[in-house]
């Protein structure tokens, strides 16, 4: 299995890299041998996980082994270097669901600390490490989960393709992610001065250039995550450009596919900036360079610029796929055509085009020249125009529709509601005058949880419920699904709505303590957080139970029109008996005579 072989090869690689760097004269006891060792670990891990067996052998004149299939390996292929986009989609989904719960557990840990003012059970450094671990793991989920899971499983079927354009690169981008988790958890297990990373997920220098091996682990983990994101984006772009079925014109492309497609431009281009920024921090740590040492000719603000040039577009890497799932689901359950389809796509492109012009709104309090603040404020407020268009598309689709309030639809509607609050509270962060007061307070924490959790993660769950019957061939329990929805939705409001009040009253983020006056509200938030955490037990029970022994699902239980619903559940290998011909628009619900696609007779017979 790929996991065992990957770890074995990785450890051998690490030892080789460590030994090599020592014998080349790198000083023992510094961080450099670890950094070089990790590069070799990473290479070894990938080779062991499958790159050697299925790819690299041919470079040396050997025969590549054939990738595992359902016939040859059954369920074990989910733990192997499969090149099947549906297997990779499931691998992503399950892996990132586990990371999501793990990151959630870290949130529970520091909410326990924040229940009462003063110190309970975490030292300040432990608190900040636990908080940062929650942050970076959730960032990983937010960046990769929807694109990795549904971008892989659903998107190729939606465009009528048999697989992704580069199946092996696709497998590679999945197998790149486990080392991220190894490193982050590893940093949490280190002892003494090496323990942890206490700088949030942003890793600003000079805090991130201070000694401590755990910090290095964090930086390497983030760089690795970036690599995975870039490879995935490349594959998605080429797949959509090159592998659309006959008749699948750009004007007929399903909106979810449009979402992951436009997002991939951002990942492909901007991820390299954060990669470079983190690389500079690593160099400052291990090679003694002076990028962020002002006394030696560097500048600490440099990092903030490079970091946010990626990390603001990154919030659109998170939310655009979320919007796309929302717009995919709303027409199906409102039984109406998607309102303003072309405008919504324009909204996606508008966001992509403008996303790199707003980064410095994260730096209003960092000491930037005054004349620069207003342009960045204006640009930030302008970007709410394309966002607003997407929003109008959602509202127009719901308007006067016959809404069928199934679980996926409830989650999609919650995205509309939550993002409205997240968007409106963001205006106060974009505005220079108010941001000077609200920066680095719980107001910001509330704002980005409403947009990313309330927007994207709710959309992720909408997608999980929506495509569950397609992926597994079984139906989940609708009652438990609704219970999970209401529990999670109300729990979410109870946790994050009070945060605006906390922030407004001056509660700082990333600090283990707060003024005693805020004790009551913090107790409420923590208690609600545990309640919110418990809601996922319902989800896990429902999903696991239904996957194992749920009732057989129909091929098209929601009566949807896009291609993935016109084939078997779960789909056969290579998805289609014959490549379909696309003849019409995907969202013409209730439009007489409109046909989205014509499939080969075998598939229809199996329907």
């Amino acid at each position: 299995m790929s996991w065992i072989k990957g770890i074995l090869f990785g450890v051998v690689g690490y030892l080789a890299g460590y030994w090599l760097s020592i014998s080349l004269g790198v000083e023992r006891g510094t961080e450099a041998p670890f950094a070089i060792g990790y590069v070799f670990f990473f290479a070894g891990w990938l080779l062991g996980a499958g790159v050697w067996d299925h790819w690299a052998r041919s470079w040396f004149g050997l025969e590549n082994k054939t990738p595992p299939t359902k016939e040859s390996h059954g369920w074990k292929r989910y733990f192997m270097f499969s090149t099947d986009h549906k297997v990779i989609g499931v691998q992503y989904l399950v892996t990132f669901a586990l990371i999501f719960f793990l990151a959630g557990a870290f949130a529970m840990a520091f909410r326990y600390e924040l229940m009462r003012p003063g110190r309970d059970w975490l030292s300040p450094k432990e608190f900040n490490t636990v908080m940062s671990t929650h942050g970076i793991l959730m960032i990983a989920v937010a960046v990769s989960a929807i694109i990795g899971a549904f971008g892989n499983f659903v998107m190729p079927i939606q465009i009528g393709a048999e697989d992704m354009a580069f199946p092996r690169i696709n497998a590679l981008s999945y197998w790149t992610t486990p080392p991220v988790v190894f490193l982050i958890l590893g940093a949490n297990l280190l002892q003494g001065a090496d323990y942890g990373f206490d700088f949030g997920w942003t890793a600003y220098p000079p805090l991130s250039t201070v000694a401590g091996l755990g910090k290095l682990f964090f930086l390497l983990a983030f760089m690795t995550l970036g690599l995975s994101s870039i490879l995935g984006a490349l594959n998605i772009l080429i797949t959509v450009i090159r592998l659309r079925a006959p008749g699948m014109t750009w004007g007929r492309l399903p909106i979810f596919t449009w979402g992951v497609f436009t997002t991939s431009f951002l990942s492909l281009i901007f991820t390299q900036f954060v990669f470079t920024g983190l690389f500079m921090v690593v160099l400052d740590r291990v090679a003694g360079t002076a990028f962020f040492a002002p006394d030696q000719g560097g500048g600490a603000l440099l990092y903030e610029n490079i970091f946010w040039i990626y990390s603001h577009p990154a919030v659109y890497v998170m939310i655009i796929p979320g919007f796309a799932i929302m717009l995919e689901i709303l027409p199906t359950f409102a039984r109406k055509p998607l309102y303003g389809y072309k405008w919504a796509i324009g909204g996606f492109f508008g966001i992509v085009a403008m996303s790199a012009t707003v980064w410095a709104h994260h730096m209003f309090t960092s000491g930037m020249p005054d004349w620069m603040t207003v342009p960045f404020m204006a640009a930030t407020e302008f970007i709410s125009i394309p966002t607003g268009i997407i929003f109008l598309s959602a509202l127009g689709t719901i308007w006067m529709g016959k809404l069928r309030l199934k679980t996926p639809m409830l989650f999609a509607l919650a995205v509309v509601f939550n993002f409205l609050i997240g968007g409106l509270t963001g205006i106060f962060n974009a505005d220079v005058a108010t941001d000077l007061q609200l920066h680095d307070t719980y107001w910001v924490v509330g704002h980005f949880h409403y947009t990313i959790v309330g927007g994207e993660i709710f959309a992720l769950f909408a997608g999980i419920y929506y495509w569950f019957p397609k992926i597994t061939g079984r139906m989940f329990n609708e009652k438990l699904g609704k219970l999970h929805f209401w529990w999670m939705f109300l729990g979410f409001q109870a946790v994050f709505l009070p945060m605006f009040w906390l922030g407004y009253n001056g509660m700082n983020r990333r600090i283990a303590d707060y003024i005693p006056e805020l004790a009551g509200t913090n107790m409420w938030v923590s208690a609600s957080a545990f309640l919110l955490g418990a809601s996922f037990l319902v989800f896990i029970y429902n999903v696991v139970n239904s996957w194992v022994r749920g009732p057989q699902a129909a091929n098209n239980p929601w009566g949807a029109r896009t291609l993935e619903w016109q084939i078997e559940s779960p789909p056969i290998e290579h998805n289609f008996h014959q490549i379909p011909t696309v003849t019409g628009h995907p969202y013409d619900y209730g439009v007489e005579g409109s046909v989205h696609a014509v499939l080969a007779p075998q598939a229809e017979a199996a329907d």
């Binding site: 490349l234 080429i238 492909l268 003694g288 560097g298």
Partner: protein, 187 residues
């Protein structure tokens, strides 16, 4: 099932497009680093920079791009010996470039611009990042060389060789930006 996606000519274009997007993405690393150069140090440049050496390695790399191109043309024409000869020259030139940078240029620069200074930081980070790309390019070209020796490429199907050569051109083009920005700019 035969579809357009399995057509070898269509697939070749798909792969080319993929490689170009990868190169676009990879260029961003150098764009970020080269912008940093101006942000941190303006156009400052130490007097002690070895201009002869800089011009020399630039020439070597440019010639290697030419021979790499010849190699690709030769395999497209079915001339395997010419392909291998040109590829071997490319690899040797690349190795010379790498060795001169690491073994001559860097030790010299350590004296007047150590990494703990502003210019030294940029010099070592940028040439180091470029050298890393040269190294990966060389590994790819060496693998291609031995594959070619085993008779793997034909005029119709030599995507492996083509992709390696295109990547090598990319490495050279990056240097064409790195060289003036590190060696020539400034008073």
């Amino acid at each position: 099932m035969s579809t357009l996606a399995h057509d070898s000519k269509y697939q070749l274009v798909t792969r080319r497009l993929g490689l170009w997007l990868f190169i676009l993405s990879e260029s961003m690393i150098f764009i970020a680093l080269l912008f940093t150069r101006f942000l941190m140090q303006g156009v400052y440049r130490p007097e002690e920079l070895n201009q002869t050496l800089g011009l020399g390695i630039t020439t070597i790399l440019l010639i290697s791009s030419f021979t790499a191109n010849r190699a690709e043309v030769r395999i497209a024409q079915g001339d395997r010996t010419g392909f291998l000869r040109n590829l071997a020259i490319t690899i040797i030139l690349g190795l010379v470039f790498l060795v001169v940078v690491v073994a001559v240029e860097w030790p010299e620069a350590l004296h007047f611009a150590p990494p703990s200074t502003g210019y030294g930081t940029l010099f070592f980070a940028i040439t180091g990042m470029h050298a890393f790309h040269v190294l990966t390019g060389l590994i790819i070209l060496i693998i291609i060389f031995f594959q070619g020796k085993r008779g793997q490429y034909s005029p119709e199907d030599h995507w492996g060789a083509e992709s390696g050569v295109v990547y090598w051109h990319f490495v050279d083009v990056v240097w064409i930006f790195v060289y003036p920005i590190l060696y020539l700019f400034g008073p």
